[in-house]
């Protein structure tokens, strides 16, 4: 049996609104979107225009830097909107779905008989290549690299995260097929990382061709970056690829059926959801149908993803490519009289500075107020308590702030991603935007190395 990696530092934020284990099939959404902003480091080039008819699997745009990589429509229908942001950056390509979905047919074949190049080619065409990403930088995997290993985090430890065992358990065959495909892409090990705190689904425990690593401990134990750091840390020049169970299932299904079927299961969570449950949807769906009648009143924050790393969407927004959950929490745009001096029984904190820290196990309704204001770095021991890697977080952040490339490298920038610092950002009394600093550092580093 593999040894259990115990993660000691970290934090589970106790929030209201975990999803009940019931999978509902949501009514098909009217609109679906692919968001170029979900993919780190790409420059999208459109291949469709408004009014074009597409099938599920028809390319919508490609990446200027890797033109072979297509980003395809998850449904068939008509391109109805191309939303742009500042400086005409493409934010969303929206497709109105047909009632019955038509699929592009791909000739796939049995992965066991295909070469690495053939597999890569067909994945790039299908729109599933972006499912595989790389560390460092968390960009799309580059097929010209040979990764030293592939990591799969098969559990999500983020606040209110869906149970990946539960959402994957019906798809054991597809999962195995996906693993078989991945094994063609690397000569190294495929690491499948499980949570040792409960028995994992057979989908994972019975998987062949993988090395199973077990982890215990609070969030971020489910973050793939933390797992890599514990099992086989990234050194300068190393490239590790990573992906997640639902993406692997989609790859497996693609090789099974020869079509881009982007079905996945997401959890609708958060304190403002009346009945938090799991939903079977097609990737990129608008959440309008899920939200209808199931959300409390008030000013709300809709998040595709979890509260730490997800992206803000509207009540009719779209589920992100990599996201397995949608979270709805109250907005916190209200003043509080002498709020810093209240005993704080109702406010969640990782510190022991509020009385709520005495209420073990209490679940909180947390809003989006930043609870203070931005300040200079003062408290030096907060980040260490929630950052389990063998890296000095404050020093790394400071080296990024002064753009010292050598120091960033020495302090371990290759091993980290924004999401690994999300808890640092959450606990920060100085309210520093840690994740965006880390992203700046990663971008800087990538530019320097290319």
């Amino acid at each position: 049996m593999s040894k259990v990696n115990k993660i000691k530092k970290g934090l589970n934020i106790n929030m209201l609104g975990a999803a009940e284990k019931i999978i509902k099939k949501a009514d098909q959404a009217e609109f679906y979107a692919v968001k170029p902003t979900d993919f780190q480091g790409i420059r999208p080039k459109l291949v469709v225009k408004i009014g074009d008819k597409v099938k599920a699997g028809t390319p919508l745009f490609y990446d200027k830097f890797q033109p072979e990589v297509q980003f395809t429509s998850p449904v068939s229908g008509e391109v109805v909107e191309i939303n742009r942001g500042e400086r005409r950056v493409i934010l969303e390509v929206v497709v109105r779905a047909d009632a019955v979905i038509e699929y592009e047919e791909f000739i796939v074949g049995d992965p066991a008989n295909l070469s690495r190049e053939e597999i890569i080619k067909v994945l790039q065409k299908s729109g599933l290549w972006p499912a595989i990403r790389q560390r460092p930088y968390s960009t799309l995997a580059n097929p010209n690299d040979t990764p030293k290993s592939i990591f799969i985090s098969a559990f999500d430890s983020a606040p209110l995260a869906p149970d990946m065992d539960y959402v994957s358990k019906e798809c054991t065959d597809c999962f195995q097929k996906g693993i078989d495909v991945l094994s063609k892409l690397t000569d190294g090990t495929i690491h499948l990382n499980l949570n040792a705190e409960y028995p994992a689904a057979e989908t994972f425990t019975e998987a062949k061709g993988v090395q199973i690593n077990k982890f215990t401990g609070p969030h971020p134990s489910g973050n793939v970056g933390v797992q890599i750091n514990k099992v086989d840390p990234i050194n300068k020049g190393d490239i590790v690829w990573y992906t997640y169970p639902q993406e692997i299932i989609a790859i497996g299904r693609f090789f099974e059926k020869g079509i881009y079927d982007a079905t996945k299961i997401i959890a609708l969570t958060g304190s403002e959801v009346k009945n938090p449950k799991y939903y079977k949807i097609i990737n990129g769906a608008s959440i309008k149908n899920l939200a209808a009648g199931n959300i409390d009143d008030g000013e709300l924050r809709y998040i595709s993803g979890n509260v730490l790393t997800g992206s803000k969407i509207t009540g009719e927004g779209y589920v992100g490519y990599y996201d397995n959950q949608v979270t709805v929490i109250p907005e916190g745009n209200h003043h509080e009289f002498l709020g810093w001096a209240t005993p704080g029984f109702k406010k969640a904190t990782a510190s022991r500075a509020l009385f709520s820290s005495l209420l073990f196990g209490k679940k909180f309704r947390i809003d989006t107020n930043i609870n203070g204001g931005p300040r200079a770095f003062v408290m030096s021991h907060e980040y260490n308590k929630v950052f389990p890697m063998d890296i000095y977080p404050v020093q790394l952040i400071k080296s990024i702030m002064i753009e010292d490339i050598d120091k960033m490298e020495q302090l371990g920038i290759y091993e980290v991603d924004e999401e690994d610092f999300a808890l640092c950002e959450y606990v920060c009394t100085s309210k520093i935007e840690v994740q965006s600093i880390i992203r700046t550092g990663l971008d800087l580093m990538r530019k320097e190395m290319s």
């Binding site: 929490i329 989006t368 931005p374 408290m379 020093q395 950002e425 959450y426 100085s430």
Partner: protein, 386 residues
């Protein structure tokens, strides 16, 4: 509260860019956020933020200091009455101390915050809450009869030279409160040392009875008068002469408990400072060539400003070492050096201030070596693989 909020919203535009009182923008923001926690919401990164913030953190430190303030007020009155050969009630002691000490606190805050507000405005920053703590610590580490103008000058020196020239809160090398004390110590030594400065009224000298010496236990010990040291119980309770807030180990430990329970001060630093002091005390005991060196090691922790320095000064997160290992080394050396300076150096009866300031300067170096270790480990790992 709603009407107050409405009033603030009404006058707010005057203080924003382009308003009549634009120059007071930072000041207005400081007072506004003091009254009402901001309605700002997360815009990027995490969607939720911990309920703890800098205001609450600093408020808890101030709360932790309060027992020493109250005890210092009582102790001031107690010693004044004793020195003049009078009897008084507990309330009279306290009231006299309050009348002496409250103005010092006010001067420290007004001068310090005034400068902080001005710098914040100049830099276009929000006002940092750090001075709320420094402002109460400065009065506690000086003798009670320090003239108010000296308090003002020292505070200004500490904030400008000790903090703002380095870039403000979070950037300073040395503890601002100790910088203020060091300034006074070297600029006006006659008000900061000797036997007559510790008790209210002794510098003026009126009505002081002959049998009252006013000497601190440290001065007695340095002079070799070990028989004149107060009892251990007195040193612990703190009814002995000394700087305003440093005498009562009991009050300081209450503060330490608050800081440690809330997790705001580093237990590593506090404990390692005490350990450092004991180790040096024991080393001195081994050699024991004079009476002072024979003093039981644990009594060093009760004497002078040791406990106060360990709990409230060494733990300043900005000027202390930042890494976990570094904190242990930093704290240990503070305790170690404080006792060494105190016993061996004839020029300084107390060594805590100098030990902490010295280690403040060395803290970045300690961190540098701790982090260098981490960097080497990473390089080695890469080489083994290659």
């Amino acid at each position: 509260m709603k009407s107050l909020r409405r009033y603030i919203d009404k006058i707010k535009p005057h203080f924003e860019k382009g308003g009549k009182f634009e120059i007071l923008e930072s000041t207005f923001e400081a007072f506004e956020t003091f009254l009402f926690v901001s309605d700002e919401v997360t815009s990027k990164g995490t969607h939720i933020r911990d309920a703890n913030d800098m205001k609450r953190t600093m408020a808890i430190v101030v709360l932790a200091v309060v027992p020493t303030v109250l005890f210092g007020m009582w102790n001031t009155g107690y010693h004044h009455f004793m020195a003049t050969g009078q009897e008084g009630t507990m309330f009279e002691y306290f009231w006299l101390g309050f009348l002496r000490i409250f103005p010092i606190i006010v001067v420290s805050y007004v001068v310090g915050l005034g400068i902080e507000f001005a710098f914040a405005q100049g830099r276009g920053h929000a006002v940092n809450e750090g001075f709320l703590v420094s402002g109460i610590l400065i009065p506690l580490i000086i003798p009670v009869d320090t003239p108010l103008w000296m308090v003002a000058v020292a505070t200004a020196f500490a904030v400008v030279i000790g903090k703002e020239v380095f870039g403000g809160t979070g950037m300073n090398i040395m503890n601002p409160a100790l910088t203020a004390r060091a300034f006074l110590f070297f600029a006006y030594p006659s008000f900061m040392s000797g036997n007559s400065v510790w008790t209210h009224g002794m510098i003026a000298g009126e009505g002081i009875i002959d049998s009252y010496s006013g000497a601190t236990p440290l001065a007695e010990a340095a002079a070799g008068n070990m028989d004149k040291l107060p009892s251990v119980a007195e040193m612990f309770i703190g009814n002995i002469p000394g700087s305003i807030g440093e005498t009562s180990v009991l009050a300081i430990l209450i503060g330490a408990a608050i800081l440690l329970i809330t997790g705001i001060a580093s237990a590593r630093i506090i404990i390692s400072t005490f350990v450092g002091g004991i180790v040096m005390g024991l080393i001195l005991n081994i050699f024991a060539v004079n009476a002072y060196m024979e003093l039981p090691a644990y009594q060093h922790l009760l004497l002078g400003g040791f406990a106060f320095g360990a709990v409230f000064m060494a733990t300043d997160p900005v000027s202390a070492a930042q890494t976990a290992k570094g904190k242990i080394i930093y704290g240990f050396l503070i305790g170690f050096l404080a006792v060494l300076i105190r016993v061996i150096n004839p020029a300084f009866p107390e060594g805590v201030m100098l030990a902490i300031l010295l280690m403040n300067v060395f803290a970045p170096l300690i961190d540098h070596y701790v982090i260098e270790g981490n960097i080497k480990k990473r390089l080695k790992r890469a080489k083994v693989k290659a």
